[in-house]
């Protein structure tokens, strides 16, 4: 039952094959069994069970609220949840319990969704590995999959290599792991430079970043206001569309949302792709791209072509400036957004009370990790009067050029762009932390981040397993506010590739082996 998609389990609830409470309990028990993944920061067991009971009452009366009623979902811990601690994986917000729900959370709850808990992330979503949060790194469920472990056994490495678990990617790694490990049917992530699509690709699930302005950011603790979008992580494209139907639309509390009210929509099943034009941006073929991902990418292009679609090479000439441009804009907004964390109104406050300034300084030193502090310092540098024109204004201009690249390509008749989501499959944690957060973020966002600059919708769809038995995802990028068209194409593609289901049976049946693994992992970490 837990392995099903949201749509399937929704049907099962409707038919009475399972009740919302039973479903909730199954998920809760799996969450506990997979605690070592560190996917959740907070498990909201009591709230979840209460919501499930209410849902059950509705089903009994025949008044279910719709496709999401009784469906277990998880929410990244940077969305405000009323009465439930919201930490951003930071000391700064440990113990902070928001008095209100983010609009997207409220909309899920209004549809009867059951909130299982708050998922792990990089501190304040600053990272691409889900390794840099105060609650520790998230482990990729695929590390424990039959597919991956069998491949590893074939290799001449020792058994100890089990300690070499993989990262999920990030920063929404907790949400990706939660969906991938069957502990919920959909999860919210946030996507500022790829934070939803990147972990989705590494965890073998669908990661969707809607158009900027389609989904409310009210209650999402911001990273970069002008690029943040709530992301959706699900097991299939249809499920992402279902959740989008609930979340999308104007929110009077977010002035950057479109005026149209949202409406639920069903994705039609595309049977004919011959009228489609798929663009392949040549700048995305970078030397760092792994040959395996590259070959999946070209296979996908061939697939479209063989089915009659027009596949053309296109150019997004300013792509290479995206990373450095993002660095300036992101850190500047971070410097501004983080200014509110001063320990006065909420969150961590230090014990020093010599002066207000001393209190600010110590509070912020204790509350933020090095990554956050580094970005704050950098951003403030860019915003200084003498630097503003040279950095911030220039970066804004470059951002416009990057956005125009996309406009030009779409105006030339391209419907959807097809690109890799990541350079390679997930890497082991010990490998990942050899580079610092900044380097990693710069490398890992390379295919995803320009989309945020332009506010476009994009979705990562799992394609196949690599030689190592790990998932690889490809990204589709659509025209602004053509989210439905984008998902329709993604759905067609998903059907063609038939990505294998993760085999976690061993893990779900026999937890003892897993706990051993965890011990080994922690030992190796302490070295």
């Amino acid at each position: 039952m837990l392995g099903r998609t949201l749509q399937e389990v929704s049907a099962a609830l409707k038919q009475g094959q399972i009740t919302p409470v039973e479903l909730c309990q199954k998920c809760l028990s799996l969450i506990k069994k997979t605690k070592f993944l560190n996917a959740y920061i907070t498990i909201s067991e009591e709230v979840a069970l209460k919501q499930a009971e209410e849902s059950e009452k509705r089903y009994k009366k025949g008044h279910s609220l719709g496709a999401l009623d009784g469906i277990p979902v998880a929410v990244k811990d940077n969305f405000s949840t009323s009465g439930i601690e919201t930490t951003c994986a930071s000391n700064m917000l440990k113990g902070y319990v928001p008095p209100y729900n983010a609009t997207v959370v409220q909309r899920l709850l209004d549809q009867g969704a059951v909130l299982m808990g708050k998922t792990n992330l990089d501190e304040f979503a600053m990272g691409s590995g889900s390794t840099d949060g105060v609650f520790g790194p998230v482990k990729n469920p695929w590390s424990y999959s039959k597919q991956y472990r069998e491949k590893r056994k074939q290799k001449p490495h020792g058994e100890n290599e089990d300690s070499n678990w993989l990262i999920t990617g990030g920063s929404s790694g907790g949400s990706a792991a939660a969906v991938s490990a069957f502990t919920c049917f959909a999860a919210l992530g946030s996507d500022t430079g790829g934070s939803t699509r990147n972990p989705a690709a590494h965890c073998g699930i669908v990661g969707f970043k809607p158009s900027y302005g389609l989904v409310s950011r009210h209650g999402l603790i911001p990273l970069v206001n002008s690029m943040d979008v709530p992301g959706i992580l699900t097991r299939c494209v249809d499920d992402a569309a279902t959740v989008l139907g609930v979340l999308a639309g104007h929110d009077p509390k977010d002035s950057t949302t479109i005026q149209d009210p949202g409406k639920p929509f069903m994705l039609s099943s595309l049977t004919d792709v011959s009228k489609l034009c798929i663009g392949i941006p040549k700048e995305y073929l970078v030397p760092e791209l792994s040959s395996e991902v590259r070959s999946f990418w070209s296979k996908a292009a061939n697939l479209f072509e063989s089915e009659g679609a027009k596949v053309i090479e296109v150019s997004l000439p300013h792509t290479s400036y995206s990373i450095v441009c993002y660095h300036v804009l992101c850190t500047s907004e971070v410097a501004s957004n983080m200014a509110r964390f001063d320990g006065l109104e909420y969150g961590h406050r230090c014990d020093i009370d010599v002066s207000t300034e001393a209190m600010y300084a110590a509070t912020r030193r204790e509350g933020f990790n090095d990554v956050v502090r580094g970005r704050i310092l950098t951003g403030n540098f860019f915003l200084l009067k003498e630097n503003y024109a040279n950095y911030f204004i220039k970066a804004q201009k470059v951002r416009r050029l990057i956005a125009n690249d996309f406009v030009n390509v779409f105006n030339s008749g391209v419907d959807v762009l097809l690109t890799p989501t990541t350079l390679s499959e997930a890497v082991p944690y010990l490998e990942f932390i050899k580079e610092d957060n900044r380097t990693r973020s710069a490398q890992d966002d390379i295919f995803t981040q320009a989309v945020n600059m332009a506010g476009l919708p994009a979705v990562s769809v799992p394609v196949a397993l690599s030689n190592q038995g790990l998932p690889v995802g490809l990204q589709f990028i659509g025209r602004a506010f053509c989210d439905q068209q984008l998902l329709t194409v993604a759905k067609w593609f998903e059907k063609q590739v038939q990505f294998p289901v993760i085999q976690l049976q061993e893990l779900m049946d026999d937890c003892s082996s897993v706990f051993e693994i965890e011990k080994l992992a922690s030992v190796s970490l302490k070295q």
């Binding site: 950057t256 501004s336 001063d342 006065l344 909420y346």
Partner: protein, 557 residues
């Protein structure tokens, strides 16, 4: 302290008090070595007043002062600029704070339509160009009463620019000559107010009240076109009246709804402008004028003594009557301005550019707001002069007190007395009584209709004007009595019995043969003496003109 500041003060010194108590004008500025055009009536008025330092009385150095103002006016609105919290002056601390106002993470600003309309209306009233597209920016600084660590303002592209404010100063003999001056308005921007900090030095802690945090402000930037405290104070007073007439701000300085920062420098005419200082948080017009004049003189003294002026921020110590450097503003602040990413550009329309089928709730039409502009103070004054033939300075005085104009107009409606008579009564006697007792117009025990009745009695010659003043005093003491009641109780009617009056006149003339003789010899003052004597005998109840007629008749017979 607050109340007199508000009512009497400000520009009271310039207008209202001129009619009542011109003595109060001499309290200020005697020691300072410069003169200001708006102030001294005795002599010549320069367009650009020259300031003379003590040493330079002989005419070696002339100084000119340059004053610019930044005025923050709280927008009269039920809710804050970007949140739904209510706005009240005296609410319990931290009782009007939304999640956004407390900067809870994840909250977003939502622009208050009313505040935008108020800004547009103010811009139109101040002859500004209204920008159809304006932008919001973040201004960063750490302060305990600024919860987000930044203020949302309009630094790059404000909602209104390039306006002007005309204000008038009275000069000449008896301040009868009105000179209109104009100060250019650089811009009007929408921005958030901060909260309030209360420093408890004893326990070395700071208490924060966020009720004010996020209240909408209009920042009005006046170009440095003024040259002394008086001019600045008069300009601020005119702006205050305009805001109140528009209803866009209550502009009550005592309640902090109108706050002024002044930029001040001095230089020799013909030379480049001097280094300027900023005097912050001037919360009454009296202190505004005093602080500016003090600061001008201080700068002149510094320069005369060979010192330099520092580009610094100062505050006015009203107890000591001087400006002092602000310790926490030492060193240059870099506000690290950045566009506010959560607010799209603010777009305004006029009837020509209004998109077809636009939801009226979603758009603001500048032309519609222009149509709703009420009468401005300058127009009201012009009308008063035209309609009632009153003096320009009286028109200023009538507008200067809250409710006084309405009181005046209500009296006029109910009396047959001449408008000039009414003006004189309202501005001299009525206002004088209010000032003495430190009351506002709406606190007066004498209502417009009571005063109208009194003036009617006077007009119909039922009582003399001396008796009328007596009645007025009585009205103040014994609430509820009508003027007629008081007149009859006190027997204050003029003698209507002409025969009786003739008898009194006859008796007086007989008793003073020497005066009668003087008069017959052609001394014109002698008859006044006789009139006075008759009035004394009749206890002021006889009409002097009637007495005069009778005396002249009896003399010639």
């Amino acid at each position: 302290m607050a109340a007199p500041m508000l009512r009497g003060c400000c520009l009271g010194r310039c207008w209202a008090l001129a009619c009542i108590d011109s003595g109060s004008r001499h309290g200020r500025g005697a020691a300072t070595g410069f003169t200001c055009s708006g102030k001294r009536g005795q002599s010549f008025v320069a367009q650009q007043p020259l300031l003379t330092a003590q040493k330079s009385r002989k005419g070696e150095h002339k100084w000119a002062a340059v004053v610019g103002l930044e005025i923050h006016a709280q927008i009269a609105s039920n809710s804050k600029l970007f949140s739904g919290s209510q706005v009240h002056f005296a609410a319990p601390p931290n009782s009007l704070v939304s999640f956004f106002d407390a900067s809870l993470p994840g909250t977003l600003p939502v622009l208050n339509r009313r505040c935008v309309e108020a800004a547009v209306m103010t811009g139109l009233a101040l002859n500004c160009h209204i920008n159809k597209k304006s932008l919001f920016d973040r201004k960063h600084y750490f302060y305990a009463d600024l919860p987000a660590g930044y203020q949302i303002t309009q630094q790059r592209l404000p909602i209104a620019v390039n306006g002007s404010l005309a204000y008038s100063v009275c000069v000449g003999k008896k301040w009868r000559q009105v000179i209109t001056k104009t100060v250019r308005i650089k811009q009007i921007q929408l921005e958030q107010d901060s909260g309030k900090s209360l420093h408890d030095e004893l326990r070395s802690q700071t208490l924060i009240n966020l009720n004010r945090a996020g209240v909408g402000l209009l920042e009005v930037v006046l170009e440095p076109d003024m040259s002394c405290g008086e001019e600045a104070a008069t300009a601020v007073r005119e702006l205050q009246l305009i805001l109140q007439a528009l209803g866009t701000s209550q502009a009550n300085m005592a309640e902090g709804q109108l706050r002024v920062d002044a930029n001040i420098s001095v230089h020799h005419p013909g030379e480049p402008l001097g280094v300027r200082t900023e005097v912050k948080n001037l919360n009454s017009a009296r202190f505004l004028a005093r602080a500016i004049d003090y600061e001008i003189q201080r700068q002149i003294n510094e320069l005369e003594n060979g010192c330099e002026i520092l580009n610094e921020t100062r505050s006015f110590d009203y107890k000591l009557g001087c400006t002092v450097p602000m310790r926490d503003k030492e060193g240059k602040q870099d506000y690290r301005f950045m566009p506010e990413p959560n607010l799209p550009p603010l777009l305004l329309y006029d009837t020509a550019s209004l998109p077809a089928g636009a939801d009226p709730q979603q758009v603001i039409n500048i032309d519609r707001i222009r149509e709703q502009l009420p009468e401005l103070p300058s127009e009201t004054r012009e009308k008063l002069i035209q309609q009632y033939g009153i003096l320009p300075e009286h028109s200023f005085a009538l507008l200067n007190e809250v409710g006084l104009l309405e009181f005046f107009q209500n009296v006029i409606k109910e009396t047959r007395a001449e408008p000039k008579k009414v003006t004189s009564w309202v501005l001299n006697i009525f206002l004088g009584f209010l000032k003495q007792r430190n009351l506002a117009v709406n606190e007066s025990p004498v209502t417009p209709s009571v005063l109208a009745e009194l003036l009617n009695l006077l007009d119909r010659k039922v009582i003399s004007s001396a008796a009328a003043k007596q009645v007025f005093e009585e009205l103040w003491r014994s609430k509820g009595k009508t003027p007629s009641q008081i007149v009859s109780e006190r027997k204050l009617e003029l003698m209507q019995d002409e025969e009786a009056l003739e008898r009194v006149c006859h008796t007086v003339m007989e008793g003073h043969p020497q005066v009668v003789m003087d008069m017959k010899r052609g001394n014109p003052r002698a008859i006044n003496k006789l009139i006075g004597l008759v009035r004394k005998v009749t206890h002021n109840r006889a009409d002097p003109t009637v007495i005069k007629e009778i005396l002249e008749k009896q003399l010639s017979s």
